[in-house]
């Protein structure tokens, strides 16, 4: 019997092998790796390139094109604030200012304790009940400054 050791990289190999024969497999592979590891590591880029018979530069080119793919670890909770027009009409510009102030970080940054990272997003499709935020895969509507603080405090407590 072969004993298999589980390491992040072997998992990446498995992901690539299970998806590489799909048509246009690169985005599904990147999504699966990011979901599993949290971001696309330099080693993963090398492996993907080898297995898809492309250059690492080509893989990097695709990663860098899409806002969602990241090459550094995110916070435990990835907060996205919708910046699009419908949310603006309901006060998202004020929410953005407050969120940055409350977390003491700007967009594309992470808090020092690595709990929260902050990014913008252009429309979450919840346009009748903005301002909206997404935290990991969860959507929250009608976010006032106070509600924003409550949600984050609750998540912060869950981590403890």
């Amino acid at each position: 019997m072969k004993i298999e050791f589980s390491s992040p990289l072997s998992n990446v190999e498995n992901i690539i092998d299970s998806l590489k024969n799909k048509e246009g497999s690169l985005l599904p592979i990147l999504h699966a790796i990011q979901k599993d590891v949290g971001y696309i590591t330099p080693q993963a880029i090398e492996r993907i390139a080898t297995k898809l018979k492309q250059t690492p530069a080509e893989i990097h080119g695709v990663i860098s094109f899409y806002h969602q793919f990241r090459t550094s670890p995110p916070g435990k909770y990835q907060i996205q604030i919708c910046r699009a027009e419908a949310c603006q009409s309901r006060g998202s510009r004020q929410l953005e200012v407050h969120a940055k102030d409350f977390l003491a970080i700007d967009y594309h940054q992470m808090t020092n304790d690595k709990k929260f990272s902050l990014d913008s997003v252009y429309c979450l499709g919840n346009c009748a009940t903005g301002p909206n935020i997404r935290i990991n895969d969860d959507l929250y509507g009608r976010i006032s400054n106070q509600r924003f603080e409550e949600i984050l405090s609750n998540l912060d407590r869950e981590l403890k």
Binding site: L30, E85, S89
Partner: protein, 523 residues
């Protein structure tokens, strides 16, 4: 008989606490001896009432909303004491019969006929409400007969460009190739739009059925739904629906025993607005950067992997089952001029009553706002309404008497697009909105065309100079020239339409650009 209680599993309802409400009901029922069954349905699209809870009665469904988990005990008392004894509701959140809610009653729901009524992944409920009837009829037709029916319906692409759907299908049908594809554009990136999402979360089998029919019509055996990753709940529901449809023989190698093949897969985008442009979408599906392609060749002839491909919006494909089941005439009889059928409008932004409003083309924007919005959420006067997403014009409050049809909007240098309507009150600064349009183009341009890639950056700079009163008059001329350059020098709508909201901002709201009305007329 067990009484059913409906709590949506649609994303807006969830974002406002529908899961917590469902948990509270489950908890209540576990401690009380009441014969109630919870069904997680879709949403009716009356978002200001979400989470909206409905209870089945002999007269129809009775609604409560917006419900929080704190209301559950009192609602359950009302249900036990009144509804279960066929007495009228008596609760602060009681809305009466759902079907009688004016917002719903005033609509013409063809595409959204089932939304919010069914459990989105119940095949039985779908079948009971005419589901797969269009497919059954199509299986008895020739490929040309299906295409002709779509042509005759007058259906035009609901993604925004409004190209006749039937003509596109005809081109793909007539192309000779060893492989063809059906691609559903579910990259609904326009702010103020959520109709595609509602279709996928509330009635996913309808989209699947529309895609299967498209496959039959043109001889394609593979379909992809390119779904934006901002819609994780739509993804989850679509995956479930595809699995169920496959198990029941509607997808796969022998559709309903016909010997025909159609396979369907969901592919996720990765937060890139430009991938809603059909050629960028195809590049992305092929695993590349979402760079816009030069046309021709048309995707209908050389699309995904250079094979003939139908790329249709969710709403276009979702209209197909009705057209095939009820006939072209039944669809075509709605609408006005060259805009036939219905459009699911999406009322969003600063309104009291935002939601999904499916209407025949032709009523005026003003009527829609007056009849449905309930006024602004902030109780301040309306200053501007942006229709058609981030590339659509901002209409001032005195120009709202415009008919909601494609031609009337283009005549007014505006965009009906995907039917998104975003309302702004008088606190909005239109110079800031124009700046945002340019900034959005900076962030989302694929970079292929210089006027879009660099022009948008220059646009932000020029608007900042106008704001700071640096040679304002000269910079206004520069901004107007820049708009011309972007329009003339960009391959796709991203660069060539960003000037539409920008120009509408300084033309119709000159005071926000520190201009007199006369100065704003550069054209």
């Amino acid at each position: 008989m067990t009484t059913k209680i409906f709590i949506p599993r649609e994303s807006t309802a969830i974002s406002l606490g529908a899961h917590e409400v469902a948990q509270a009901f489950t908890h209540y029922l576990s401690n009380h001896d009441i014969d109630l069954k919870i069904i997680r349905n879709g949403s009716r699209g009356l978002f200001w009432l979400e989470p909206m809870v409905e209870v089945e009665t002999t007269q129809g469904r009775m609604a409560y909303g917006p419900v929080t988990s704190a209301d559950v005990a009192s609602i359950m008392e009302d249900i036990s004491q009144n509804i279960l004894h066929e007495k009228p509701q008596s609760h602060a959140l009681a809305l009466g019969l759902t079907e009688n809610i004016a917002y719903l009653k005033k609509q013409t729901r063809l595409t959204f006929a089932r939304a919010g009524i069914t459990d989105p992944v119940s095949l039985d409920e779908y079948l009971a409400l005419d589901g797969f009837k269009g497919l059954q009829k199509s299986l008895a037709l020739s490929t040309q007969e299906i295409v002709t029916a779509v042509v005759d319906s007058g259906l035009r692409g609901r993604g925004g460009a409004a190209f006749p759907t039937g003509i596109k299908w005809q081109t793909v049908r007539d192309a000779t190739a060893d492989k063809k594809y059906i691609v559903c554009n579910a990259d609904e990136g326009d702010s103020g739009t959520f109709a595609d999402k509602l279709v996928m979360e509330c009635d996913p089998f309808m989209l699947i059925e529309g895609m299967i029919i498209a496959g039959l019509a043109v001889g394609a055996d593979q379909g992809y739904i390119y779904l934006r990753s901002e819609y994780p709940i739509a993804d989850e529901i679509l995956q479930q629906a595809i699995e169920i449809a496959s198990a029941a023989g509607y997808l796969g190698n022998n559709i309903c025993g016909s010997g025909k093949t159609f396979n369907l897969e969901v592919r996720l985008g990765a937060e890139a607005y430009i991938c809603g442009e059909e050629t960028a979408l195809l590049e992305s599906l092929e695993g590349k950067r979402g760079m816009v392609r030069f046309k021709p060749p048309l995707p209908a002839l050389e699309g995904l992997f250079a094979k003939p491909t139908i790329v249709n919006n969710v709403l276009s494909l979702a209209a197909i089952p009705f057209i095939m089941s009820e006939g072209s005439q039944a669809y075509q009889q709605y609408g006005t001029n060259r805009s036939r059928g219905t459009l699911p409008f999406q009322l969003a932004g600063n309104v009291k009553q935002g939601g999904l409003i499916e209407l025949p083309f032709g009523s005026s924007l003003k009527d829609l706002i007056d009849n449905f919005s309930g006024g602004t959420a902030s109780n301040r006067p309306i200053k501007a309404i942006q229709v058609g997403g981030p590339l659509g014009a901002y209409l001032p409050s005195h120009k709202l008497d415009i008919p909601l049809d494609y031609e009337a909007f283009s005549k007014a240098s505006a965009v009906l697009g995907h039917g998104g309507i975003v309302v702004f009150d008088d606190s909005v600064d239109m110079l800031e909105q124009a700046r945002f349009s340019m900034e959005f183009c900076v962030v989302e341009s694929c970079g292929k065309c210089t006027p879009c890639r660099i022009g948008s950056t220059r646009g932000v700079e020029v608007i900042d100079r106008i704001k700071n009163d640096e040679r304002r008059a000269e910079n206004m001329i520069l901004l107007n020239d820049l708009c011309d350059t972007m329009i003339d020098g960009s391959l796709c709508a991203m660069g060539s339409m960003t000037p539409i909201p920008v120009r509408s901002a300084f033309t119709d709201f000159p005071q926000d650009f520190f201009l007199t009305t006369q100065e704003s007329n550069h054209d």
